[in-house]
Amino acid sequence: MKAIINYLSDPVFSFTGIIFFFFLGIKHIEVVASKKFATIALILILIIFGWMSLDPVFLSIVIWPDNVPIIFLLALVIWSTWFAIHKGVINDQRMAAGEPPVEGTPENREKVWAWPNLVYTELFAIIAGTVFLIAWSILLKSPLEEPANPTWAPNPAKAPWYFLGLQEMLVYFDPWIAGVTLPVLIVVGLIAIPYIDTNPKGNGYYSFKDRKFAITSFLFGWLLLWIFLIIIGTFLRGPNWTFYGPFEFWDAHKVVAANNINLSEIFWIKFLNMPLPKNIFAREFLGLILVAIYYTFVPVFITRKFGQKFLITMGKARYYFLIFLVLTMMSLPLKMYLRWFINLKYIVFMPEFELNI
């Protein structure tokens, strides 16, 4: 049983599985939003987590003090996602019946005094937060390892947990993409959201139907490409950033086949049975063309197929920037699958300029 879970938690399966369940959930959003579903899911999660915690290897990773916040994060992420969708679906149903959303009922639009309604809530939150932090601090000592030693690197050397999604991307992209370009684009993309999303509906209340595309793509990035990668980076990556199942001992000598090859090698050596051309651009022309196609012809194709309506309502600049951001976001799962299925290392491999894609 544990061997099966170890095997299935490999990103090839777990990532595919979670994508499948994500879109299944989006499709049957009313089911996910129901209290019955939440209760069953909660019981299942508790049982599975409890059972997994019986395993000493898994437990030792989970209760490592700096990993404890991730457990809180996971609990909050699962709860907040369900709760927001739950409230959104209720509002969807109300609006379908011609009623205003819960937040917009005459009763809730009424003005109340900040004192005591708001101030007392804040006081309660401050007390609860203080108690929580003090209890946490008493129960868990802040870890301190051996003094800094620049000559001896621990294995694995991990960034703080909130950056582990980025560190996990390093498996699939070079640092200039995973460590610099993508983070910058994430920040730029987040700031750009209100300027791209011109849908006037869904402002100031929980909803789903009114903002199907916005919420689905945001949840996809947030849950699958950020939170899930943090989970993998924290719990399933051991020495040498090798994959380890949740019950697998972190044996630094675990051997992993390093048989990833570049697109140029696949094309020239495997396919044409020729040596690699000396000229870099001749060697990498296929990869360069593919990347160019990804950012030029793919948008054109998407626009032809589904985008006309949005192109007109959003305007050109907004529309193409959105397509650029979505394609960049999707380049990560794309590269992941290329790695898993055809052992592709780089689409464009130009170490001469440190330009590897």
Binding site: A125, L133, W136, L140, V180
Partner: protein, 261 residues
């Protein structure tokens, strides 16, 4: 003075009390307005607001908690500064001393777990704001300010990570700051940097690229410790404090906590 007046009533009539609180108890409309408008801290709030905006089910209180944790981290951080010297010679020993010599001391724990908690609450706050569509007009700009604050929160946490000067700290920062090396054109291992040269002389080398500027050296050493200390204790908190002021001000000016139009 009547004998049946309670102690509280007596105190609230003294000159000292009246000089501090210029209004009666907030149990009628006039005083409830006065208590919020007349207090520098409470006046962050509007005097009245829509009922939906005060419901925990709507706001989750995550933004407020983030601000509270920021304040708690400021207090615990200042206390820690009394005992901590940011040099390679003393830093680690000062942390040991905090652990060994302070009976029942939990300041470092409060600071560390609080920092983790702040990253979490700020993420969940952003998630809530997204799910309620609260970034939509007229709040577009404030969403952008919030995203910058989110990045600064993570940078605060990241710069603080180095300060204990243990193996975890130095290597986590090494992994993180190695990314800067790959910055296009500005990092000596990044694409384009190889073109920036005059003859054989490289303009972007490991002695002047962005990573060097960040660490004040070619590796995570004493200069990096001092830089991260100042970034962590002074520079980023000041920027964050200013942006929090902008953020709160704009929440008010953009119509308060979002509600259906």
């Amino acid at each position: 003075m009547a004998d049946n007046e309670s102690f509280v009533e007596k105190v609230s009539k003294t000159q000292v009390w009246k000089s501090i609180f210029r209004h009666g108890p907030p149990n009628n409309a006039r005083n409830r307005a006065a208590v919020v408008a007349g207090n520098v801290f409470l006046h962050l709030h509007p005097i009245k607001l829509k009922k939906s905006g005060v419901q925990l089910g709507y706001t989750w209180c995550m933004g407020g908690l983030t601000f509270f944790i920021f304040l708690a981290l400021t207090v615990t951080g200042i206390l820690l500064m009394f005992y901590y010297r940011p040099t390679a010679e003393y830093a680690y020993n000062d942390i040991i001393a905090l652990r060994e010599h302070v009976p029942l001391g939990i300041m470092r724990e409060l600071h560390r777990w609080g920092a983790h908690a702040m990253v979490i609450t700020v993420w969940i706050h952003m998630f809530r704001v997204f799910m309620t569509g609260s970034y939509k007009p007229p709040r577009e700009f404030n969403w952008g300010v919030g995203v910058i604050l989110l990045v600064l929160t993570m940078l605060l946490s990241f710069t603080g990570y180095l300060l204990p000067w243990d193996q975890l700290a130095i290597w986590a920062i090494t992994v993180g700051s190695n990314m800067a090396k790959a910055t296009p054109f500005l990092g000596n291992g990044g694409p384009g940097a190889a073109f920036a040269k005059i003859g054989d002389f490289a303009l972007v080398s490991d002695k002047n690229d962005v990573r060097f500027q960040l660490l004040g050296g070619r590796f995570v050493g004493e200069a990096a410790l001092l830089r991260f200390y100042i970034l962590h204790c002074v520079f980023i908190p000041v920027v964050v404090a200013v942006l929090i002021a902008v953020h709160f001000w704009r929440v008010r000016k953009d119509g308060g906590i979002s509600a259906p139009l």
